[in-house]
Amino acid sequence: MHDIKNILVVDDDKIFLVLVSRLLKTFYPKTTITSCLNGHEALDYLDKSTPDIILLDINMPIMNGWEFMNRLPLKKQEDLSIFIVSSSIDPRDQRLSKTNVNIEGFIEKPLTPEKLKRVLGVHASNT
């Protein structure tokens, strides 16, 4: 039922990265996951590869989520399904997520199997 999907997780929280990979392994064993610890690493990675979905945190060292979005070429933004996954409570972050057309949604941490399903489901309907 699910195609193999490549998911890029951009988050500096290593525990979160472990959790995401465990969740995926448990519920969606066919997906592959790549993780980057900040926006800068992610940009480097995207030069070579094109994942199906990006789960993007906002508060990160070196290059945060919004800086990453500003640097990422528009063409790439359109091709990718980008979700913000954050525990930020700053209303500006939520507002920005809503106004940026290339952001598919704002997902509040914790990431649960239900929320994960929604993300992958959206991607399924897109393709």
């Binding site: 929280d13 979160f16 959790l19 930020s88 409570i89 700053d90 509040e108």
Partner: protein, 675 residues
């Protein structure tokens, strides 16, 4: 003589009663009576009424000796006519005081019934008698002149002076008051041409009055003020009132009543000046209200100019004292045209340079006036002032409460100047105003700095709370994720459930705190009209689950269309909190009803939410009902945020939130909003 007079009075009585015709004659409205023997006018009787009217000393003086010269012919005519019939005429009598009196006189020839000696009986109509001077003032003066003694005292002691001059401006009479008013005795003044004493600018006024008076015999003409030179050289304001009495042979001159009105005019001028100064001060003080900070300096300078122009100072300035460093500094200055500015060089002047008494006076709140700088003994100080061309100066301390913070000063450069007490008092008011204004501005500045600081702190705090809250939430989210995974991979376990519920609760707390931070940060939202029935339905809908689990029942009373202009999110939040509280704490097994009424009263909308549950002991908790983190029940979980938030929100809506409660009776919350 005495026998004869006694007999004439007796005879008069006899004659009077001898025949009805005579009696009637006397009765007929004539109240003054005189009987005179035809053979001798000395043989004469007059009744007391006539005696007093004609100011005669006894009752047997011939009244006709007083008849004015111009009326002598008429008298003769009257006497002649009396031979044949009763006849009458008008006669003018010149009284001893010089006052002309006109009276109707009737005459009748009578005969002593015993001796057949003929007499003339005169009747005088005293009631209709008139003084021949029509002007009220003259009448007033004259009516007081009933006796020579009174006349003398009046004329000689009156503050008003009396001057009588003839057409060739020679002084016929001048009263003693002249000495008091212009310093000259009657003797001295007669050697002067009086008009020379008048101020040249006012001579035409006096001449005009005199000319007008000459043209109006018998009349007084309008009072006018003019300026006259006193013997001591000072100028006096004199008010003169001219009455032409040239037609009166007894006077034959123009009477001038005059009085000194210098004090009156001075008082009026002072009053006018004081009123103007008060108005100026008012203008300045209103100008000081609500001015923006950047205009403070220019407003102060402007007011120095206004006050300086008004008191005719050449330079007005403010100095600030700095007693710690022992200096003072010129902070503001206004100079009139052509006056040198000194502000640049008057910085950090050592106080030692000033007279010691100068500083002492200022510290004690007293002003310093130097009428003549050239007389100063302190050479250094004198030279300092003279280097600025100051001839006179007045300085008034600026008192902030008990302490002197500086002074405002008024220099006279062009000429020597002396300020009177009224000016000093009013300039004191100006100084007070200046201090108040500067204090207020200082406070405003302080407040502004504080506000900036608070704003900065607030924004730092906000950033801080976003970060900590974010970090906390990340960790909580991770724990929740781990709990889910453990649950999934290892199966449910009692401890995992406890861990889950405590993390859920922690997560909930964080969410509420975030909500609070958002509220504080959001600021004002535009009010929009809200239909209260719809809003209430929505709130009840949102609490449906809780209501169902508590088996609560709502009794709602509201008119269909009550609208209120408000911030919908806030009002919804308030209603949600109150109803949520009622559901959580106000419902028990016996009492499940919650009453909600919304009504409009005049210009207020009142929303009341009443439950009949366990209530709150207001004696114990009343003062911390709306405090952050206050909780009044252990029955159900809560953060202590609900009422705190509602109170903040109702304040923004400019409404009222009141809570009444009795333990075990229930709680009633009343929300009042402007309709």
């Amino acid at each position: 003589m005495s026998i004869a007079t006694a007999s004439i009075k007796d005879r008069f009585v006899k004659i009077l009663t001898s025949c009805d015709e005579i009696f009637d004659f006397v009765q007929e409205s004539f109240d003054g009576i005189c009987m005179q023997a035809i053979r001798s006018s000395d043989e004469c009787y007059i009744n007391p009424v006539l005696q007093s009217r004609l100011q005669l000393e006894s009752d047997n003086i011939d009244p006709f000796s007083l008849v004015s010269n111009t009326y002598k012919n008429r008298l003769q005519e009257l006497r002649n006519r009396s031979q044949s019939a009763i006849s009458q005429t008008k006669l003018q009598f010149t009284l001893k005081s010089g006052l002309p009196l006109l009276m109707k006189v009737k005459v009748m020839r009578v005969v002593d019934p015993e001796t057949l000696e003929p007499f003339l009986l005169f009747g005088f109509n005293i009631k209709s008698s008139t003084y021949q001077v029509k002007k009220k003032e003259w009448q007033y003066v004259q009516s007081l002149l009933k006796s020579e003694r009174r006349f003398k005292s009046l004329v000689e002691n009156a503050t008003d002076g009396i001057l009588i001059i003839n057409t060739s401006k020679q002084i016929l009479f001048v009263s003693e008051a002249l000495q008091r008013i212009l310093g000259y005795s009657a003797q001295e003044i007669k050697s002067h041409s009086i008009i020379d004493l008048c101020h040249p600018e006012y001579r035409h006024v006096v001449r005009g009055q005199f000319a007008e008076s000459l043209a109006n015999p018998g009349l007084g003409i309008q009072k006018k003020a003019s300026k006259w030179r006193h013997k001591d050289g000072s100028w006096r304001w004199i008010e003169g009132y001219f009455t032409n009495m040239l037609n009166d042979t007894a006077i034959n001159g123009v009477i001038i009543n005059f009085r000194d009105i210098t004090k009156l005019i001075d008082a009026r001028n002072t009053l006018v000046k004081r009123t103007k100064l008060k108005r100026l001060l008012m203008n300045i003080s209103t100008r000081y209200i609500n001015i923006p900070l950047e205009k403070v300096e220019s407003t102060i300078s402007e007011s120095l100019k206004d006050i300086g122009k008004f008191v005719e100072a050449d330079r007005v300035y403010i100095f600030d004292y700095d007693f710690e460093s022992g200096t003072c500094t010129n902070t503001h200055e206004w100079c009139d045209d052509g006056i040198s500015a000194e502000i640049a060089s008057n910085k950090n002047l050592p106080l030692k340079m000033f007279n010691q008494q100068w500083i002492i006076n200022h510290i004690a709140g007293k002003s310093n006036a130097i009428h003549d700088v050239s007389l100063l003994e302190n050479i250094e100080f004198r030279e300092f002032l003279q280097s600025q061309n100051i001839k006179s100066l007045l300085t008034i301390p600026l008192m902030q409460g008990e302490s002197c913070v500086g002074f405002v000063g008024f220099d006279s450069v062009k000429s020597i100047r002396r300020y009177n007490i009224t000016e000093v008092n009013l300039l004191n008011v100006f100084a007070e105003m200046l201090v108040n204004f500067r204090m207020r501005m200082e406070n405003t500045c302080k407040l502004k700095r504080l506000l900036n600081k608070v704003e900065n702190q607030n924004s730092t705090l906000m950033d801080f709370s976003f970060i900590t809250s974010h970090n906390l939430r990340s960790s909580v989210a991770n724990i929740m994720g781990i709990v889910d995974l453990i649950d999934y991979e290892n199966g449910t376990n009692e401890f995992v459930e406890l861990l889950r519920s405590s993390t859920d609760r922690l997560n909930n707390t964080l969410k509420n705190i975030n909500q609070l931070i958002h509220f504080e940060n959001e600021g004002l939202v535009e009010p929009t009209p809200v239909n209260l029935k719809n809003l209430l339905s929505q709130v009840i809908e949102n609490n449906k689950m809780l209501a169902a689990s508590q088996q609560a029942k709502f009794n709602i009373s509201i008119l269909e269309n009550i609208e209120v202009k408000t911030i919908p999110a806030y009002l919804e939040s308030i209603l949600h909190n109150i109803i949520n509280n009622a559901l959580k704490y106000g419902v028990n097994a016996q009492n499940t009803e919650i009453d909600i009424t919304i009504e409009k009263q005049d210009c207020e909308i009142i929303i009341e939410i009443t439950d009949h549950g366990s209530g709150i002991d207001l004696k114990e908790y009343g003062n911390k009902l709306f405090d952050l983190g206050s909780r009044f029940s252990t029955k159900s979980e809560g953060e202590g945020l609900g009422l705190f938030m509602s109170k903040r929100q109702i304040e923004v809506l400019e409404g009222k939130l009141e809570l009444k409660s009795k333990p075990e009776k229930g709680t009633s919350v009343k929300i009042t909003l402007h309709a």
